[in-house]
Symmetry: C2
Subunit: 344 residues, 2 copies
């Protein structure tokens, strides 16, 4: 059975015997309305099940909030590949809901300008702000949003002029992994990067080099292996490293998928993990408990990231001065992919 028309402010006014003006002011908590009058208005509104029409409200005042946050998935079919994203997304939705916001998910159409999705959302006033994932050091989306003056928060610090709110990892994020490996006795420590044009990979790489320096170990260029984000790219990248006559005894991968790729490549070369090669991942993805051997990895926690992302974004939207950059410190989860180095 279909409902009748939904009640309008006019109905509430008639019901309460007030003018439309005064009803509106009463419901919106303005000052110049007598206590008893407000009471009557509220009571009538409640009795009728009145809920204000957002379209009309926003037509009148284009600045009212939509109470939704935008998140544009990155292009390419393998975008979400990272199991990490699923959990992160859930955390974001959760936190947003608890603050009264929803999440608008979209994705660029095939070979569309990356900022087009953002333009659409802004023009349509569908969102109050954006969460940006997988941001690059030089990212047109960031430039666009800064210029447009729309609130947004990035995961990873993006350099440049203008207000750029971010939630990022501490600058010594890789340190615990290197400390752990050094404590085991490793001195030949390599790394499997993600593409370094991305802010997060760049930070991890800096931290990796600093951590080595901190232990007086020099970073060897031939032990640094550029990789993509996914398992298969890591498998490919591992080829020459393992063929080298002076391979590292330990490897830090910038995400768990890449670590799995490294483990697979090692297996293909008949190299035992962890006894011939130790591997540390990053993210503590669900699968890292299940791999063989179970993966030692750095854990930031999807929930913590999601929570901070939303908390700061909502702060930026509702009270720009209260938003603040946040740095998260990863914790090392030690499993079985790391061990003492082989004696040579």
């Amino acid at each position: 059975m279909s409902r009748g028309q939904r009640p309008t402010l006019r109905d509430v006014a008639r019901e309460s015997g007030l003018s439309i003006t005064q009803t509106s002011r009463a419901l919106n908590g303005h000052e110049d309305v007598a206590a008893g009058t407000r009471e009557r208005a509220l009571e009538a509104a409640h009795r009728l099940g009145y809920v204000p029409n957002q379209e009309a409200r926003r037509l009148r005042d284009p600045n009212v909030r939509s109470h939704s946050l935008g998140l544009v998935l990155v292009a390419g079919s393998q975008r979400f590949s990272d199991p990490f994203f699923g959990e992160l997304l859930a955390a974001i939705v959760d936190e947003a809901a608890s603050r009264g916001y929803e999440l608008q998910l979209s994705t660029p159409l095939a070979d569309e300008d990356p900022v087009a999705s953002y333009e659409r959302a802004i023009r349509a006033k569908r969102v109050d702000g954006f969460v940006l994932l997988r941001t690059a050091l030089s990212d047109p989306r960031v430039d666009y949003l800064v210029e447009e003056g729309v609130p947004f928060v990035t995961f990873g610090e993006v350099p440049g002029p203008g207000r750029r709110l971010s939630v990022s990892e501490a600058s010594d994020c890789i340190q615990p992994a290197v400390d752990h490996l050094v404590a085991l006795g490793h001195r030949q420590i390599g790394c499997l990067t993600e593409p370094l044009e991305y802010v997060i990979a760049a930070r991890r790489f800096e931290s990796f080099k600093q951590a080595l320096a901190h232990h007086g170990i020099e970073a060897r260029a031939d032990h640094i292996v550029p990789s993509g984000f996914r398992e298969d790219s890591a498998v490919a990248a591992m080829g020459q490293l393992l063929a080298s006559n002076d391979p590292p005894t330990a490897l830090v991968a910038f995400n768990d998928l890449v670590a799995f790729g490294a483990m697979r490549a090692a297996a293909q070369h008949g190299i035992d993990v962890p006894h011939e090669l130790s591997i540390v991942g990053f993210d503590d993805v669900y699968a890292s408990r299940l791999s063989s051997p179970p993966l030692t990895t750095l854990r930031l926690g999807e929930r913590a990231i999601g929570r901070e992302l939303v908390t700061q974004l909502v702060a930026a939207i509702e009270d720009p001065d209260s938003a603040t950059d946040v740095h998260l410190t990863p914790e090392l989860v030690i499993r079985e992919s790391t061990a003492v180095p082989p004696t040579r």
Copy 2:
């Protein structure tokens, strides 16, 4: 630099020398406008970068589409736990984008009525329809949406009156798993269910029983183990089964996480998988390639499910008669968690 006011229909009218009325009609492709006039209007609109104000449009005609689909996450912190969801979501967003829709993600607040989120979205006219995941045989959300006349599609068939559009598994979905096990020589085949009040679990259970019957095997009640959705609930559920003095030689789990739980429980009891116990999962989650042993599992494909869900929902929205129920047939991915049964 901040833009000036965005152009309105009035501006386009002035620019093109037409009335507002005629401009509107020209832009909306009505009949009674001369070819040259339409030309002028379109040209002016384009020159000004005019884009119609949705609020105003919808204030005037409440029936215009919002072009977004709603998806409400299930409550509880472990909602998304299933890595399967991440991929499914990405597939849904992709397919929606290619049809010009976005996805509105929300989640119920703590101890809130499950339908409240749907009510909010409908009242606010934020979405044109819903995708329902993890639906139960008797689901208040379904009843609500049917009554309200809002288009929706469920994953799994929900019985009851009214139009209920669904994408579901074929009724013999479990058959390939059982066939495979029987071919290996198994006759004692058990199953680890998900809660049977959910439509998908119910269908899988029916199919499981039918598949056994098809091979002339009787379903033994003590080989049917009720489990939750997640690994830990499966570990717990496995206890008594493995302690029994006549355990099955093979087990079909209703999802991969549960299968992992079963593998873990087996390991704890010193039971070798696959040589003492074969295990088949469902979903082909990312991690199933990595577990030890790698999991033999039934695969529907998140992308296929997401694509069909969106395709049918959009059909239901835009042309109700063209929407149709869809049945998907899973395919068996054979890995190493299944083998011939032990000779006793």
